[in-house]
């Protein structure tokens, strides 16, 4: 089969580019520790917020816990059109693990200016861990359209 020289060049260039991109993604995952958030566990969305049933049923102001110095976890319940809690405060340099689930429809969870970006699906707890070294306010928003009040669904992560 005859392939023109220019076409050969383009085919070779395209394949090379894809290989370079794939290697770069592998490097970001292996060397830089950038991972895709994974489902943590399955829950019943109808009972997940029932007090005593799960950490998502705890009073809102008790859903951010200090596990050890510099190590925190937060259980965020998403529902139309609010995150509970919608304000989280941690000291700078802390490692924060977020557990997020929905009790109604599908939502999204994105912390601006970070790599935290995940889907929030009823019946599934999404988990992500990140260390926040830089003090400041990081807004988190729902980025999956969830109804007429979608644009009001946001919160603040304050690193002090």
């Amino acid at each position: 089969m005859h392939v023109d020289r220019t076409e050969k060049l383009f085919i070779f260039g395209s394949i090379t580019l894809i290989v370079i991109f794939a290697i770069a993604i592998a490097i970001s995952g292996i060397a830089y520790g950038i991972q895709v958030p994974a489902p943590y566990e399955q829950v019943n969305p109808n009972t997940v917020s029932t007090p005593g049933n799960s950490p998502f049923g705890a009073p809102v102001d008790e859903r951010v816990r200090e596990l050890a110095p510099g190590k925190y976890e937060a259980y965020i319940l998403a529902q139309t059109w609010v995150f509970q809690p919608n304000e989280i405060r941690i000291p700078a340099g802390s490692e924060l693990t977020l557990y997020v689930t929905s009790k109604d429809v599908q939502h999204g969870f994105l912390v601006q200016r970070t790599n935290i970006n995940m889907m929030v699906i009823p019946g599934q707890v999404s988990q992500v861990t990140m260390t926040f070294d830089d003090p400041g306010e990081y807004n988190f928003v729902c980025h999956e359209y969830c109804g007429v009040g979608h644009q009001t669904m946001y919160g603040r992560l304050i690193v002090e």
Binding site: D4, T6, F10, G13, L17, F21, A24, S28, Y32, G33, I34, Q35, P37, R113, T114, N115, I116, V128, T129, M130, T131, D133
Partner: protein, 42 residues
């Protein structure tokens, strides 16, 4: 039409492809470096 005219190097297409490739590398590279700079998540 002469044979050599039929197989002329498609300079316009090559120019467009080069611009396209440079753009893809620049946009992809910018997104990649931003992701690296934002630090690890897991």
């Amino acid at each position: 039409m002469k044979k050599e005219d039929k197989y002329k190097v498609p300079q316009g297409t090559i120019a467009l492809m080069i611009i396209f490739i440079i753009l893809i590398i620049a946009l992809w590279g910018s997104a990649y470096l931003t992701m690296i700079a934002r630090g690890p998540v897991g």
